[in-house]
Symmetry: C2
Subunit: 429 residues, 2 copies
Amino acid sequence: MDTLDTQDIAAYMNRVGAAARSAATAMAAASTAAKNRTLLALARLLRENGPALDAANARDLDAASAAGLAGPMLDRLKLGPKVVATVAEGCEQLAAMPDPIGEITQVKRRPTGISVGQMRVPLGVFGMIYESRPNVTIEAASLAIKSGNACILRGGSEAIHSNLALWKLVQVALVEAGLPATAVQLVETTDRAAVGRLIAMPEFVDVIIPRGGKGLIERISAEARVPVIKHLDGNCHTYVDAQVDIAQALVVTDNAKTQKYSPCNATESLLVHADQAAAFLPRIGAIFAAKGVEMRACPRAQAILSDVSGATVVAAVESDWAEEYLAPVISVKVVDSLDEAIAHINRYGSHHTDAILTTNHPHAMRFLREVDSASVMVNASTRFADGFEYGLGAEIGISTDKFHARGPVGLEGLTSMKWVVLGQGEIRQ
Amino acid sequence: MDTLDTQDIAAYMNRVGAAARSAATAMAAASTAAKNRTLLALARLLRENGPALDAANARDLDAASAAGLAGPMLDRLKLGPKVVATVAEGCEQLAAMPDPIGEITQVKRRPTGISVGQMRVPLGVFGMIYESRPNVTIEAASLAIKSGNACILRGGSEAIHSNLALWKLVQVALVEAGLPATAVQLVETTDRAAVGRLIAMPEFVDVIIPRGGKGLIERISAEARVPVIKHLDGNCHTYVDAQVDIAQALVVTDNAKTQKYSPCNATESLLVHADQAAAFLPRIGAIFAAKGVEMRACPRAQAILSDVSGATVVAAVESDWAEEYLAPVISVKVVDSLDEAIAHINRYGSHHTDAILTTNHPHAMRFLREVDSASVMVNASTRFADGFEYGLGAEIGISTDKFHARGPVGLEGLTSMKWVVLGQGEIRQ
C-alpha cells in the first residue's frame, strides 16, 4: 500500500499479473507434498496469530462503524476466533484431500499404436473479486495452492487491513514450504481501476471469479476480457408432482424454504400439480403461516391458501415467478402437468437448483434430464446444492453457466484437461 | 434468402435465435434412436442427391471463378462425389457412436443419505462461423444432432448455394425422424451484420465456434459476448532430448514437419539438446535439404547445418520462434537443458501441440506436466493431434484455450455436466 504509486494502477497490475504468470509455472510443477506443507503451515499460522489478526480486523471494524455500516455488513466483516478456526480447519481438510493435478485418465491405445489420455492440470492464474468477508482470502488462497494455480485476490476496501494480515500469513506459509510467495497476491490498492485492469489482462489472468452482489457480477461479466465463473442468482424451485409422498413432501418443502432464507439454494418458488393442490397446499400453507412466510400465489393456489388460518397470501404478479426473494416469501403456482412444471422452471428459473418431489420414476428421470439447471434433484431439499454437501471438500463459488464448470465449483473447476500422447516413435501415415 | 428483409438483420437473427433456443429444448430431450435415425437419413439423402448438390455447388464455383478466386480457394469450395461420400460416411460413423447425453457418472452416496452424481447434457445452442468448405455444414449439423444441441450455421458467402442445398437435406432428415427442422439453421443472408448479431446474443446462443483464418477468429473473439471455442495458431515444437534414439527421432521429426505442411499440428520449430546437436542436426538437415525445407537456425544450429550439402540455412530472427509457417520452413534451435526447452516452448509456442523425443523417463514426465499445451506428446509425431486420431470420432475444432474444452473438440466439448441429486426425502440440517 505504502509503496504503491497509485498514479499508475495499470503498471502496478501488470507487475502483479506478470508475477502471477511466472508463479503459476512453478505452482503447476509443485509437488503434492510442498502444496500440502503450505496448507498445514497456513493452518498453524492462522491459529498462532489470533491477536495480530484481531488487531487488523479491529481497524476495519472501527472504520466500518465510523462510516455507519449496518449490522449484517459488520457481521460479514468480522474475523474473530471462530471464523479463523473454521478457515484453518478448511486448510487442513484441503491438505488431506487427493491432489487433482497430474492425474492421467482414460488412456486408450489407438490403432496407430499411440496411447492417448488426458492429464489434469491447473488453469494457470485466477483472479478473485469479492466483498466484505475476509475469510474468502484464505478460502481462495488455499484452493489456489492445492489446485496448483496462482491467484490474484481483490477483496473489498472495507476489509483491506484484515485481508493484508491474512495474506501475510499465506506468504509466510508459501515461502516456508519452498513455493513462490507470489503464488498468492493481494491487490494492495483499493482503487477501483485495479479491478478494471484485473479483468482485462488475458496475458496474465486465465479466469475471473467474482463473489458478491448481482450488480458487481453483472458489471464484471459485461466488461471482462477473460472467462468468468459466475453465479448471478438462485431462483430455485420445488415441484410437488401428481404422485407424491405428501408427508415427505411437506418436510422437504419446508426445509427447502425455511431452513435458512438467505442462501442462494433456498427454494423461492413452489409448484404443485393440480391433483395434489387440495391435499398439499393447506398443509404447507399452515407451516408457512406459522413461520411467517408470505405466499404470492396464482389464482388457483390463492383460492386454496386463503382458507389457511393466519396465512399471508397475496396474488402473484408476473415478476414474482422470476424473483429471488432471499426472505420469508415464496411464490406458489398450481400446474396441470409435469410438462408445464418443466417449462415454467426453464422459463423463469435461474438455472441454479430445482427439485421434483415424486414417487413416479419416469417423471423423476424426465425432470432430471429436461430441467436445464446446474443442480437437479429428486426427493431432496434444494438446500443441498453446496460444494461441501456434494463432497467437493471446498467451494470457490457456484456457477450458473454451462460452460466449463457448472454448479458448485471446487478444485476441479480450477483445472483443465490436456491431452497426453505416449508413443514409441509412431508417425502419421 | 428471397424472403429476407435485409433491412432488419437484427430482427431476422432474433427469430433464428429464438427458434434455435426452442429447438434446443426438444433436442436435449430427444431419444438416441431419433438422433441416430436423423443421421442415417441424412447420410442416405446426401448419397441420393448428388446431382442437386452438384448443381448448387456449380453455381458457387462459377461465381467464384468469375470473381477470379485462386485454385486452392476453388478446391476448398468444391463439393463433388468424394467429399459428399466422406461426409455421408461421417454421419453413419456418428450414428454408430455411443450417445454422450444423459450418461450419469460418479454417483456417490453422501453422509446425509443423498446420492450425488453428474449428468452429461447438451450445451444448448452453438453458433458456427466458417469459410469456403461446404462440407463443414454437414459436419457441424451432424455433431449438433448427435450431441443434442441446436446450432446456427453461418458459412462463407462464396459457398451459400452449396450450403443451402446441404441444409435442405438436413432439415428433411430432421423432420423425417420427428425432430424439429429448426434444430439446425443456416443463416440465409450473406450480410456481415448477421455475424455481429450471432456472436452477441447470449440469450439464444451458448457458444461460438469459429473456423477460418486467424484474422476472422481474432475479430470474433474480441467482439463475442458469449464463450468462444477457438484455435488461433499451431506453432508446434518437437524437442530432441539429450538421451534419445536418434534413428527414431529422425523418422518422427521428419514426419512431424514434412508429412504435410499446411495442418496446424505440423511441427514449426525444432529444439535439439546440445549433447545431440552434432549427431542429430546433420542427419535431419540432410533430410530437410532433400525435401527443400528451409531452416531458420540459431547461431549454434547454423554452424552445424551450414555444412549440410544442398541445405538452405538462414539465421533465425526473434520472430521466427513464434511463427507458424504452414510451409516448408522450420526454425531450429540448440538448447542446453530440458528446462530451457520447456521455457522456450511455453514462451514462444501457441499452446497447441508439442512433443519430446527422449529415452529418459523423468524427462518425459516433466515435459508432459510442465509444457502448457493442449496436447503434449512423448516419442510421437505432432501430426497425431487430431480428433479422429484421438478416437473422438469427429472433431468440430481444435481449442488452444484452457477453459472448458482443450485440444481437439468432439462431442463431449459440446456438452456440460450438471449435478444430479437423488434423495429419499432428505433435508439439510
